[in-house]
């Protein structure tokens, strides 16, 4: 088998395994997995920019929130149906990521971190400022009755899980395709050495903007899906904390590995869930685990896997 075949089988296999898991796992865990898949989409969007292009953003919560509020407000005030509302969420995330990308890409490195952080912070405050419509920190509920797509009830365990899986699979395959395409290789070239990429004739600025936009829209789709599947939109999701989460998930799972974000998100979720069952001081366990991981798995879980056993991991 060639590496390309291997990686194709890997991606298809992961999706099939996830689909089967719904029928095997107890209800609690399949419910968790639905949420994890949505969040993993957010992390995959982040991974494209951070893991493959080498741009560390601290403001991705802005894109997540753009998708969430684009969908939420469209349903709340204009009675959009879920499909149209998802499109509204994606459009808002697209517009926001173009604007942010256009301005923030004038900077690199730490300045890029700060500029994205500041834009996200301004976005969070804007949600509070327009509290009359957004209900600020408290947020609003998307009623159960509105969360139907045709005959599919998105609030049923199965409807929710397979909608989440569908979104995950689409984004997973898109990422798998991108990283093998010329575009993806150019992004890696930028990550490894921006000057050399410029000298080789790549339009670095344009490529980076495209990466920001794809990454932003993917994060936005996760935000829209979260609001739709779990029935709630709130400003908490626009806070800095939610910008740091995808960074953490990606670093834990393995930056620049296609399955890294999924692994990192699952790991972090169950780290909190199980340690909180052992002790109320679960943050202590989570903190220790993070420190130990940095010491012993420097490239994240999937990164270690690639380094030690599976050098062909995309």
């Amino acid at each position: 088998m060639t590496d390309i075949q291997r990686s194709n089988w890997l991606h298809i296999g992961v999706v099939i395994a996830l689909a089967c898991s719904f029928f095997i796992l107890p209800e609690y865990h399949s419910g968790n997995l639905a949420r994890i898949l949505v969040l993993a989409v957010y992390a995959m969007g982040y991974n494209l920019l951070f893991g493959y292009t080498g741009l560390l953003s601290l403001g991705h919560a802005l894109f997540f929130a753009a998708g969430m509020y684009g969908l939420g407000l469209a349903m709340q005030f204009f009675d959009f149906n879920p499909i149209a509302a998802v499109i509204a969420g994606l459009i808002l995330a697209l517009v926001v990521s173009i604007c942010v990308g256009f301005l923030a890409l004038r900077t690199t490195g730490v300045a890029f971190m700060i500029v994205t952080l500041m834009f996200a912070q301004a976005g969070y405050l804007t949600i509070l400022y327009f509290g009359e419509y957004t209900r600020g920190d408290e947020g609003f509920v998307i009623q159960q009755a509105d969360r139907m797509v045709g005959m599919i009830d998105l609030t049923s365990p199965m409807g929710r899980f397979f909608t989440a899986l569908l979104l995950f699979a689409i984004c997973f395959f898109i990422i798998a395709y991108i990283v093998r395409s010329g575009f993806g290789l150019a992004l890696v070239a930028i990550r490894e050495n921006e000057e050399r990429a410029t000298m080789l004739g790549y339009d670095v600025m344009r490529l980076k903007l495209q990466a920001v936009v794809i990454s932003g829209v993917m994060s936005g789709s996760a935000g829209a899906a979260y609001a739709l599947l779990f029935g709630y939109a709130g400003a908490t999701f626009a806070t800095v904390q939610y910008s740091i989460f995808p960074l953490l998930w990606v670093l834990l799972g393995g930056a620049g590995v296609t399955i890294g974000p999924l692994i990192g998100t699952i790991f972090m979720f169950y780290l909190i869930d199980y340690s909180s069952a052992i002790t109320p001081a679960y943050m202590l366990i989570a903190g220790l685990a993070l420190v130990l991981l940095t010491l012993f798995a420097p490239q994240g879980l999937a990164g270690e896997l690639r380094r030690r056993f599976l050098p062909w991991l995309p």
């Binding site: 509070l128 509290g131 209900r135 408290e138 509920v141 159960q144 709630y232 002790t279």
Partner: protein, 432 residues
């Protein structure tokens, strides 16, 4: 699965074990003739999932909600439990975060197999969790004082029977403020939905009194320095109305005092601005003579009821509203009674519904919806309540206290009628 469920929870359950033990003993010895399966079923505990803010911004409240809940459960178990079955609290931290809150509700419903979920305070966590509770058909009893339940934005499975909501609290304050303190009011509130509720409901209510809000100052979240906002208070202000939440509340009140110096207007505040804070902290001397809304009087009053006394003893709170083991550890007295009263209502609801297990959840909701007047008693130490089954919201008296010699002394008690408003929803028409 069973191993997973039993092993890890030991620590958070330890406090309840004693109570459960007593309850279980009562339950089994009380009915010696019941045999076999029936006995096993009756002595199996009723599991109440307790969504508690152990970490995050609500942790100071969460600690006292926890203590109150443990005390209430101990009392219920000492009295024989619910329908002869002991009550077990399954506590999970929600990190004061709406996402984790929803996850915790799922955990209660599908992993711990709890009978109900209970105890949430911060309204964004309520909003984040309530849709999942509704979908999982898990009765969700919140203790949040938000207007979310009564506004009709939630669902039939979410109820708030043990604590009044912000709309009724705020509108009941307006007559007192207008008649006794002044007609021109400046409001200072956090730029959160909670603050906006204060702004909207109070402005409306004070206008009905012939008063007027002359300035509305919304303070951004996570602010730690406030003086720069105070110059926006107009000179002709007669009353400053303040409400603030979060860890910086003491700074806020202190800087308010430093700003005005010797010539302050009348000041009326919601005790939220000083919840879990000692009113005699350095820098708060200027509060002498100002007024506070209190959900339940923090200091034991001269005419203390036997119910208040029993409640304080059970929870471990002294006459100054602080922990009996550490006088510096001030409780969140104006809110935490809601946990006590809610659990007693759950008990009554389960008893009148003949609750046996999760299949009776809808019956439990209907039983609570059928409740109305609840007189002041050991079960309701804060005062009489009137529950509105249609809006799933309770109504009750509010207290206005004046700071006198460094203590909060009640100077006015509103009637329940003062707090009523028109129904905004009828949840009973929604299907289960």
């Amino acid at each position: 699965m069973t191993d997973k469920k039993k092993g890890p929870k030991l620590v958070s359950r330890r406090n309840t074990l004693k109570g459960i033990g007593a309850g279980a003993l009562l339950a089994t010895t009380g009915m010696p003739k019941m045999m076999g399966y029936a006995q096993a079923q009756t002595s199996e505990p009723i599991k109440i999932g307790f969504q508690v803010h152990r970490t995050g911004i609500g942790a100071a409240y969460g600690r006292w909600y926890d203590r109150t809940t443990q005390a209430a459960v101990k009392r219920i178990n000492d009295m024989g439990g619910i329908n002869g079955r002991p009550v077990e609290i399954v506590a999970e931290d929600d990190g004061t975060d709406p996402k984790r809150g929803a996850e915790v509700v799922e955990k209660f419903a599908s992993q711990h197999n709890c009978d109900i979920a209970f105890g949430t305070l911060f309204s964004h966590v309520v909003f984040g969790s309530a849709p999942r509770a509704g979908e999982l058909k898990l009765p969700y009893f919140v203790v949040s004082e938000g207007h979310h339940v009564a506004s009709g934005k939630l669902n039939r499975y979410t109820l708030q029977p043990g604590i009044t909501d912000v709309k009724s609290q705020v509108q009941a304050m307006a007559p007192f403020v207008g008649d006794n303190l002044g007609k021109k009011v400046t409001m200072i509130y956090p730029d959160f939905a909670f603050g906006h509720d204060h702004r909207d409901f109070f402005s409306e209510a004070i206008e009905r009194q012939g008063g007027q809000v002359v300035a509305k100052i919304a303070v951004p979240p996570a602010e730690t320095s406030f003086t720069k906002y105070f110059p926006k208070i107009p000179r002709d202000t007669e009353v400053v109305y303040h409400v603030m939440v979060g860890p910086a509340v003491l700074t806020f009140v202190k800087e308010l005092g430093e700003f005005f110096g010797p010539s302050r207007p009348e000041i009326f505040g919601f005790i939220d601005s000083l919840e879990a804070v000692d009113i005699n902290s350095p820098g708060l001397e200027f509060l002498e003579g100002t007024y506070f809304w209190e959900g339940m009087p923090r200091y034991a009053q001269a005419n203390q009821t036997s119910h208040d006394k029993l409640y304080r003893e059970a929870v471990g709170v002294d006459e100054n509203g602080a922990s009996t083991s550490d006088p510096k550890d001030v409780s969140t007295f104006a809110h935490m009674f809601g946990c006590w009263e809610t659990l007693n209502i759950v008990k009554k609801g389960m008893e009148s519904a003949g609750y046996k297990g999760p299949e009776d959840r809808a019956k439990l909701i209907e039983a609570v919806e059928a409740m109305s007047d609840m007189p002041m008693s050991d079960d309701h130490p804060q005062g009489a309540k009137r529950f509105n089954g249609k809006t799933h919201q309770t109504f009750g008296s509010q207290y206005i206290s004046k700071v006198t010699d460094g203590k909060l002394v009640v100077s006015h008690t509103t009637s329940i009628e003062d707090t009523l408003y028109e129904d905004e929803v009828d949840y009973t028409t929604q299907p289960f």
